[in-house]
Point group: C2
Chain length 225, copies 2
DNA sequence: GAATGTGAAGGTTTTCACAGCA
DNA sequence: TGCTGTGAAAACCTTCACATTC
């Protein structure tokens, strides 16, 4: 009998661990397609450029999913991580701002693949309101609060200009939304009980720029074979 | 006289420090627009939801830019960080894959604003090759290696399907490119001397999903006032 | 008085190394 | 024998606290 995933986590799990769970999840999905029955922490680590100890430690926070001498059962572990990350269900997501980035996100396959269903689109541009994107009619942002409530939206993706982002996020918070993914290069203020994450796509380019200019040492992956 | 930025950094600077430099840079750009002459670590920290000590420590790795009792000169500090991050110049960037995400990135203002100039586009789709995106003609990916060399491209942004990403990245590496930003959900292998960063946009949504499902405690920002 | 710069302390994350089990 | 699970150690990162400077 396997130990169940603890429903409420005692020790605070680090952000990095959670991000790595996403990586494991992706690797396991691939391994399942490749018909692997089991996988060792060593193999998982290799595929995600991590160390075997890291993989085992991360997983150990949530339970004992492996078998000594054998490894982890691919299918089960994938299901477990899926449940830990809340990917064993679908999420009703609204996307605000049908510009550049917004339009791309509507058809971004990785979102829907993981259960994030964009079911609502908003914009303030009269030319866009009423138009159809991938089967969804763009709503007027003036009705944001009521429509977010009526459509039982659980997460919001913000892809609006930085200058208006705070006003919109205030509305979103008023609508009772507790999870927001922000693409605007702005520092948004939200109450303590609202989860806000920022996606800053030029940050990684800036890292590359820094790395080249400064000859920055790469983090070396120990292979401990 | 100010102490110059050490050209080669002895102690390895952490990734987080570099990412925070990006944040400081953005905040300082705004402060400059707002006509601030100086800024304290306290104010900078507040704007980026960090601690004053963190700000001072980060900056101290690169030099002494402030004045005791006064704070940091906004304009100078911005210039210094700009030079540290390599943003005081322009970068010739090629974008490969003019799909969903790729098209959005061509017009993504944050890139050009920081000096990342997309000067070259590639795709393998005959219908796209030869077409004009924001003044750039899409090239055939079959000429990737030679064109990257001839056009003296310094960075590559990859926005192609995961299934073909490795083949393309191999070509990119052969062309001598040392910095790659990858949007494909794939684990690409590159030689040690090539910087590769991954942008995984669903990872943050997965974090939000985890946070909701597990009532994950937010990292609390100490205000030490 | 105000705020930086920085060793040292404290806290967190990663890695080690090995007991334990299939 | 092979590989997990995990305390302990090591490495790393953040915060403290204060001497220092304007």
């Amino acid at each position: 009998m396997s130990i169940p995933v603890s429903p409420s986590i005692r020790k605070r799990i680090s952000e990095s661990t959670i991000h790595r769970l996403s990586l494991y999840y992706r690797a396991l999905s691939l391994l399942e397609k490749e018909n692997y029955e089991t996988v060792s922490s060593k193999e998982l680590a290799k595929r995600e450029k991590l160390t075997p100890a890291q993989v085992r430690k991360d997983l150990s926070f949530f339970g004992s999913f492996g078998t000594r001498g054998l490894g982890y059962p691919v299918k089960e572990l994938r299901a477990q991580i899926s449940s830990i990350l809340g990917l064993d269900r679908t999420w009703r997501v609204a996307l605000i701002g049908i510009g550049n980035i917004g339009s791309a996100l509507v058809s971004y396959k990785e979102f829907s693949k993981q259960g994030f269903q964009i079911v609502k689109l908003f914009d303030n541009d009269q030319r866009k309101i009423g138009s159809n994107h991938k089967g969804i009619i763009v709503s007027d942002i003036r009705n944001l609060e009521t429509e977010l409530r009526n459509d039982r939206i659980e997460m919001v993706v913000l892809a609006v200009p930085a200058t208006v982002a705070q006003y919109i996020v205030d509305d979103v918070v008023r609508a009772g939304i507790k999870a927001i993914l922000n693409f605007a290069p702005a520092n948004l203020k939200v109450p303590d009980d609202v989860y806000l994450r920022n996606e800053n796509m030029s940050m990684e380019l800036e890292y590359l720029s820094f790395a080249i200019v400064n000859n920055h040492a790469q983090k070396r992956v120990k292979l401990n074979i």
